[in-house]
Amino acid sequence: MLSCYRILDLTDDRAFICGRALSDFGAEVIKIEKPGGDPARFRGPFYKDQADPEKNLTWFAFNSNKKGITLDIETAKGKEIFKKLVKTADAVLESFAPGYLDSLGLGYEDLSKINPGIVLTSMTGFGQEGPYRDYKDPDIVVRALGGLIYTAGYEDRPPLTVSYHHTHYLGAMNGAIGTMIALSHRALTGKGQHVEGITQQALDIVCSAEIEGPYALFGEIPTRHGRARAAVTLIDGSTFYNPLLWECKDGHIALNLLLNPTAAKNNLSMMDFIKQDGIDIGTFEHWAWEEKSWEDMSREQAEELMEILGKFFRNRTKDELLKLATENRFQLGPCNNAGDVLKYPQLLYRGFWKEIEHPELGKSLKYPGGAVMTTQGHVGIRHRAPLIGEHNDEIYQELGMSTGELKTMKEQKVI
């Protein structure tokens, strides 16, 4: 759909996903890395744990579909070539510290002089302006200031961040959207613009509905309750936190426990399954599911119900519970890990996983398929990420450079 667009990608590993997402919709994305390879190539995980910049799995994941060239934009010659490329491009993506491209003479003002239609998309933790402009923005720090850490974790321990450092992807994906908004604007105005995707703000959107509502209305500050994130009100007006996640026989599941008359049929049928497992449902034998909600329940009853459900789930496996849920429309699902998603029946049915050849490894790897399916062509992964400088010849020859020139630039470490 977007094959008419050429996008130059100067990002680091925090924002690789931006160009990757645009390339999924067909845009030609040219990843520009330093001669010798992007620094992110040198930090694992690696294929077969071999610390080789051509075997980096994060690189594979978020640079697939892109073309790859090497270019040192800090050198005079490198800048000149970059400017030539900008003339041929629709957008430039970057995630440097604010002001860095300006200091090289490659900021938005400079680029728009070369190509007034160019869109420059800058992705950072906190933004190009403001008091945090020059802040260091590692994953845990942005996540903390974005409000997602305070409510995650157990009451008796410090709040928790993520063990998978993906937080900046949220700002980067917003950078991709901002790029499309700007390209759409350009179709009306003929002019490009400077776009920002900001991770701190992207995190605020994740948590605002949960925490800013109670704060704005009542001055309440939601805090952390382990796995019991779902707050409900009981008969005495007190708040009860019921678990989102539960232990089962071979792992964990998530449960969305709706307790009101609209969910009576599902809840009654779940009680039947619980009884079939030989579990005593106690006072819930006589609970009027068709009439009652959390608001009619005492704390003692709520705790009893949690105990009953806990016993039932511990007695069943993830697969059994998924099957029960699908057949009976119970609102629960397994806490999948990587092994689980690769064999998840719904995804297999839809042919979601795509085998992508890595000839250099003599192997193919399964990648997630497109984030959407459409009737106007394939969206998603098409081919593996580029090797270091793989498309130098193709792209530089298109700019009219001779093989001799390319050789000299290689010797001067410009490419």
């Binding site: 590692p138 995650a152 928790l160």
Partner: protein, 410 residues
């Protein structure tokens, strides 16, 4: 007057809950004309999500217009029409809207629209160039197509409930509905790409957005690691494999914490200076990242013995001034008062006829140099029913009144 990015784009919004709304907000904030179709006979469950703004009059029912959850997620300018699809005339009016629109976005499980004859084929008969965006939990084909998709469950199914936790306890969720905010970004890109394609070719399309599939696109490195190295993600608490100190440390005050991340040896030297170069910091074992990671338990205790003397804002400032990553672990109030967010005019106060003035409405996490996001209080259910029928669809007032009597606009 400069044009807005999506000026002229017309959208019908039939989305319940979060994903479809977050997806279309991006377009409505930037100039699209959006009509939200709802019915009071079967309201969007989010309109019934607590907490509710208190009512002014004793005994007054809460109604459908006071949910904080609803209002904070519906911050885009929209027109609202109420249509009860149980009435055949309501379907006819909806089809007229489809003929008017460029995009129809809907977020029901598979089957709901189809039973009404309003699947893609149905819409295409009315408007061959229509872009139909359909989002649901598991996609519109396959054994789970008709399953409801709650964000709290999809977060688990997409591996996202396996990435926050300590090694000695079960993992906790990263937030309650994480995929509800992560999967829309791909949906929005899809619609924008489709509009771009339509502008150039005149062709519409059908977009099947499965929240499970969009969510998994964020997890690719973990899925590759599993295949290449037979390894699942290991929980690390707040630690990092290649950097230390890296954690959440107690500060002065009640439940106050700061995140500190020393990512390089240079940053370590700056960090040591800020904390007053204590004797222990000269120990050889702390000189390299590998040494610091190996001794991180001991190091964490020492860092916390220092942070605990200061409020988190002060640790953040001292360390960031020295070029070391640090940030307070922000709660609801901290976010409301955050100077960086204030600089970007992020949280804004708007007035609402039922909820009063609230300071929490916000734009998307995007700033454009030549376009402003238009932020509004949420549309009320059926707020513009008359306007849409008469001014957009050209119906007569008599006809509108007649249909209202029949319950078409309930």
């Amino acid at each position: 007057m400069t044009k807005k990015p999506f000026e002229g784009v017309k959208i019908i919004q039939l989305c319940w809950a979060g994903v479809g709304v977050y997806t279309l907000n991006y377009l409505s904030h930037y100039g699209a004309t959006t009509i939200r179709v709802e019915t009071a006979t079967r309201p969007d469950p989010v309109r019934l999500f607590a907490p509710f703004a208190p009512t002014n009059k004793e005994g007054e029912p809460v109604g459908l217009e006071r949910s904080a959850f609803f209002s904070i997620t519906h911050t885009a300018p929209e027109y609202g029409i109420s249509l009860n699809f149980k009435q055949p005339e309501a379907i006819e009016i909806f089809k007229k809207l489809v003929a008017w629109a460029d995009v129809v976005g809907e977020g029901f499980p598979t089957g709901v629209m189809d039973k009404l004859g309003l699947d893609y084929e149905g819409l295409r008969k009315v408007n061959p160039e229509i872009i139909m965006f359909r989002t649901c939990g598991y996609g519109h084909t396959g054994p789970m197509a008709d399953q409801p998709g709650f964000g709290s469950i999809l977060t688990a199914v997409t591996m996202m409930d396996t990435m926050v936790g300590y090694t000695d306890r079960p993992p906790v969720p990263p937030s309650t509905y994480y995929t509800d905010q992560l999967s829309p970004m791909y949906g929005s890109l899809a619609i924008m790409a489709a509009l771009d394609y339509k502008r150039r070719t005149g062709k519409g399309q059908y977009i099947d957005h499965a929240q499970i599939e969009a969510g998994l696109n964020y997890m690719t490195p973990l899925i590759l690691d599993y295949q290449a190295n037979d390894r699942e993600l290991a929980l690390k608490g707040n630690k990092c494999d290649y950097a230390a100190p890296h954690g959440i440390y107690k500060c002065k005050g009640d439940d106050r914490w700061v995140a500190v991340a020393v990512m390089t040896d240079d940053e370590w030297r700056s960090f040591v200076k800020v904390i007053g170069s204590p004797d222990w910091s000269n120990d050889e074992k702390y000189a390299t990242a590998a040494g610091r990671v190996e001794n991180s338990d001991e190091l964490d205790r020492r860092v916390e013995a220092w942070t605990t003397n200061y409020p988190p804002e002060q640790v953040q400032e001292m360390l960031q001034d020295a070029g070391v990553g640090a940030g307070l672990v922000a709660n609801a109030r901290d976010l409301d008062e955050d100077p960086q967010l204030k600089h970007y005019n992020f949280y804004r106060e708007l007035d609402h006829p039922y909820m009063g003035k609230l300071h929490y409405y916000h734009p998307d996490p995007i700033k454009l140099s030549a376009a402003e996001a238009d932020i509004r209080r949420p549309v009320l259910l059926g707020e513009h029913t008359d306007y849409i029928c008469t001014d957009i669809l050209g119906m007569t007032r008599e006809e509108v009144d007649r249909l209202r009597q029949k319950g078409v606009f309930d």
